[in-house]
Symmetry: C2
Subunit: 136 residues, 2 copies
DNA sequence: CATCATCCGTAGCCATTGCTACATTTACAT
DNA sequence: ATGTAAATGTAGCAATGGCTACGGATGATG
């Protein structure tokens, strides 16, 4: 009987690393956006963007440097590495597709904004392709 | 200039509690499903379902008891409280809608299964309504 | 009713992401 | 050149959710 228990498609074993990856995606996307909008991205800019303390940002930036996604010297602006930039572009494109998709589906802009930020991380390539097709 | 920084729609300040809520939703849904399928839900059933150790399950079940979502005596099956049961029904219905939506959108069942489990937690009432409409 | 396998709880470790409080660096203005 | 405000780093705490190792409870079986 017990062997009939179906495991989830996405094992919880990956919960922590999945969350860490989502953070990485959010941060590279934010860094790219802030650099585009105002030329540089400081720790405090990210803190304001995410509504967290600068301490939280500082620690996460440090971790993402070790993952070769971000780069910065102490007290200096945060920059994207080549790897981070590549990820950021992919994430932003996916985000825009999800957002446009929700709006075309009939969701108002405010809720489409909110939901797309949560949904984007869980949209696999197949689902993304289906959304793109729907948009055409 | 700095005041032009747009905060995210979903503040990161809520990240931890949001994750905790997602866990709660996943657990009540799993408990309901396991009880339906095999009459009762044990800690080890949940551990197998989520692919985590029984220790992780045990601690989360304890927390969800304090939140009045689950109920169980030591070494006894896990049950849903009235509050937990209500939440579980809501979560399951939303999950099924998201899954059906992805399939109708053209995503294959395997990927629809995977993505729906991640997406469901981020589908607000407006987006859910739009998905329901699309299904008709 | 004694034994043993299975189930479950506890102790204690780590990583992630929040926080406040305090220290340090930078940069600008006088 | 010096002082000060703003920006950033560091120390250390909490909550959540992973884990292994160990021990106690339960229940089935002889």
């Amino acid at each position: 009987m017990k062997d009939k228990i179906k495991a989830r498609s996405v094992p919880f074993s990956q919960t922590r690393s999945r969350h860490a990856s989502e953070t990485a995606e959010d941060y590279v996307e934010a860094v790219m956006e802030l650099i585009e909008e105002q030329g540089e991205c400081r720790v405090l800019d990210l803190a304001r963007y995410f509504n967290v303390s600068h301490v939280t940002v500082s620690r996460i930036v440090k971790r993402l440097q070790e993952e070769d996604l971000l780069y910065s010297k102490p007290y200096k602006p945060v920059e994207l590495t080549a790897k981070g930039s590549k990820l950021a572009k992919r994430v932003k494109e996916r985000h825009l597709i999800v957002l446009a998709f929700l709006i075309k589906l009939g969701v108002d802009k405010v809720n489409a904004d909110i939901d797309s930020e949560g949904i984007e991380h869980h949209v696999g390539s197949k689902t993304l392709a289906a959304m793109k097709k729907f948009l055409k």
